[in-house]
Symmetry: C2
Subunit: 204 residues, 2 copies
DNA sequence: GGGGTTATTTACCGCTAAGTACAGATATCT
DNA sequence: AGATATCTGTACTTAGCGGTAAATAACCCC
């Protein structure tokens, strides 16, 4: 699934790669947040002019939403793949270690754009704030459903509160995003992940 | 220590209460973040005009910093008081339950302004971003020092990694701020607090 | 090569941002 | 009362915002 408009056969061809430009936009939104990013920031980083941006991506808001889609579909994304692990404990393990690795990775801005892209923001950003909030909540619901399944599978005790367990894990993951912004290293986050797993119920 | 300029004896007296106005400003910054808050938002909420704001508080940046000082000195603040508890476990307990209570309190915006006031932001907000980051890191250092003392006191095992423990707790607390923004209730956060404490080392 | 189509460039729009000059209002001090 | 000091309200400045109109350039199809 291509996140950007596909190139038509007729007319002057686009002088930039839309996917690359979107990556650049994501980087800016990630570092500065939606409110803190201006169109000048974007066009400069993307290497295009404003009319090109508007023709290719609609407007600032739609550009942001497409950048988030890209963010979540990237190969280095760790959340959804972790859900596929065979046991609840392994799901948590992969998610926490994946987050530790990813969120402090110096190859891109620290933290998580879904957490920090529009946390507290102006009314103009209400739509994107809601979109991000939705993704955070949905992620936790998927985690909850995965833990319910784990109870059926028998790799979580039957009396486990799956919702609270998912919320606990979500809390730590989101906290790790802040920690990465605070300057914590991957190794330091890995230690936090390890400690987090100590509160995790084991197969009884 | 008064956070605002003290009233002089001569000249026309101020028509508003500076402390009350600062509370209003804090509320706006808390909900909208530094970048998302305009001077119009502020003057409207504070019930004063721009020249009064500038005369009393300097500028937007200084107003923000004063609002943060007020935030941390408020009676409902839970972080510093928790450090005074007799044992490391009680420190963690009071901090986590205090956060659960406070961050989802409907009497004010959700979450924590130190976390969400300027997480990802424009270059214009670099100073306030650094100030908030500093406070988060300092809080964790105080926590770490408290846990080191606990090892001396004997209410934490001697082989405890105080730094990691403090970072783990900081991670959960900061994660709870995001959770509160996600709409989590105090009761739901309390459950997360409970689970967090299960990873906490007990007196051996 | 010409017509149709799309992208790029430059210049601009209306609006709001943060911050301030200045005149008038209201207090204290002598 | 008068002088002095401070605050308030209106109106303003400069700069940047998100977004767009219109002319020009580059491509495909016939």
């Amino acid at each position: 699934m291509s996140v950007v408009s596909c190139t038509p056969s007729m007319g002057r061809p686009r002088a930039f790669d839309a996917e690359t430009a979107l990556e650049k936009a994501l980087d800016v939104f990630w570092r500065k947040g939606y409110d803190g990013t201006s169109l000048s920031d974007l066009t400069e980083a993307m290497g295009i002019n404003k009319p090109s941006l508007y023709a290719a991506f609609g407007n600032k808001e739609q550009l942001f939403l497409k950048a988030i889609e890209l963010y979540e579909s990237r190969p280095c994304s760790f959340f959804l793949p972790a859900l596929e692990k065979p046991t609840a404990y392994q799901v948590a393990e992969h998610m926490l270690y994946g987050a530790a690795m990813n969120m402090a990775d110096q190859a891109h801005p620290q933290g998580c754009v879904v957490v920090q892209g529009a946390l507290s923001c102006s009314e103009a950003a209400a739509t994107v704030k809601a979109a991000l909030l939705n993704r955070r909540v949905e992620g936790e619901q998927k985690l909850c459903a995965r833990f319910e399944q784990a109870k059926i599978d028998g790799d979580l005790p039957a009396n486990t509160d799956a919702e609270t367990l998912a919320r606990y894990l979500g809390t730590v993951l989101q906290g790790m995003a802040i920690q990465a912004n605070n300057g914590a290293s991957s190794e330091q986050l890995r230690q936090v992940a390890e400690m987090t797993l100590q509160a995790f119920p084991r197969k009884s």
